[in-house]
Symmetry: C2
Subunit: 193 residues, 2 copies
């Protein structure tokens, strides 16, 4: 895609927020970007193809956010929680709604499902590694890394449904996660909720 890729991903994000997944069209994505609809079609046959690349981009952004952190297990855990529950999420507008629509499409589109699975694996891996390292280094109390990781990803998924279906702030779930981690690890992430 060359240099236009960032622009196109931002345009897809905006078009998703504005129109949702069902009403998303290549024309509407082009309208948000600096390229024409025909230029879009040069790279992607359908909006579904474009959204696969968009989900790849989302995953890359997420990885980059986490990679910039120090190697202290507490900082790693806090960075993950901040990236999913932090203040930046409050400004996401209707993006969580569009993302929920995409998740509801996963049973019909293997390519979407694979990307959601990859994102989930990555989040679990971050939590498991941080818990394992933190227990080893004495920063955390003894805990089962897999159980803690499963709790965190399930809570993240739960917060997403609750935000979309019930209009509940993700901060409610963040508080639950803080209480849980404090209980399990003796470490309450700072400033998440």
């Amino acid at each position: 895609m060359g240099d236009g890729s960032d622009d196109l991903m931002a345009a897809t994000y905006c078009a998703l927020c504005e129109h949702g997944y069902a009403d998303l069209t290549m024309q509407r994505i082009a309208d948000e970007s600096s390229v024409s609809k025909s230029a879009l079609h040069y790279h992607f046959d359908t909006k579904e193809d474009l959204l696969e690349t968009f989900l790849d981009d989302l995953l890359e952004t997420f990885e980059a956010e986490l990679a910039s952190e120090a190697d202290d297990p507490r900082a790693q855990l806090d960075a993950l929680l901040d990236s999913v529950f932090g203040p930046a999420q409050e400004e996401n507008g209707d993006f969580p709604v569009a993302l929920m629509e995409l998740k509801a499409q996963a049973p019909y589109r293997d390519a979407y499902r694979e990307r959601f699975a990859e994102l989930d694996d990555r989040m679990r891996e971050v939590v498991e590694t941080a818990v394992r390292d933190g227990v080893e280094s004495g920063h955390f109390e003894s805990a089962d890394p897999e159980t803690v990781a499963r709790f965190v990803v399930t809570a993240i998924n739960g917060a997403h449904v609750r935000e979309v279906a019930l209009d509940e702030s993700p901060g409610e779930t963040a508080t639950l996660v803080e209480t849980y981690l404090d209980d399990q690890l003796g470490h309450a992430p700072e400033g998440v909720a």
Copy 2:
């Protein structure tokens, strides 16, 4: 709706499983039922109106399932978990996918959101009451009823996304909930996972 109501709700359920929400039409619901499309329209202007009644019916069924249980707080908690994670859920086919699509519509339809909020309130109430009663009667260890209830409903929402987006069995979340409740209350629900 009189006596045809059960038939119609079953027909809506089947049509949702088969076609999903986006492709659901009054004709497709009529096709699954013993009534004609025009008879359907006598009672409901649109599929959205019909789905409001369908969600009411879902809530009633859920309440009836829980009401039949004894007043032992352990049995009440187990009944809730069994109704959301139990073996009956394994035979639900594509219904979780359709329900996720409905949840993604909640931001655009207050009537759906109200019903999901009511279902959520009811689940939290069941858990809170059971935990409070169980702690009082000495069946459970001391625990904060609101925190436990929030954990359970968030896990239920999380399991729903994970089933739809990742094709993960709800049994995985059920195991997490069992571990949590055993830890918090000293009570592991039987035979849920």
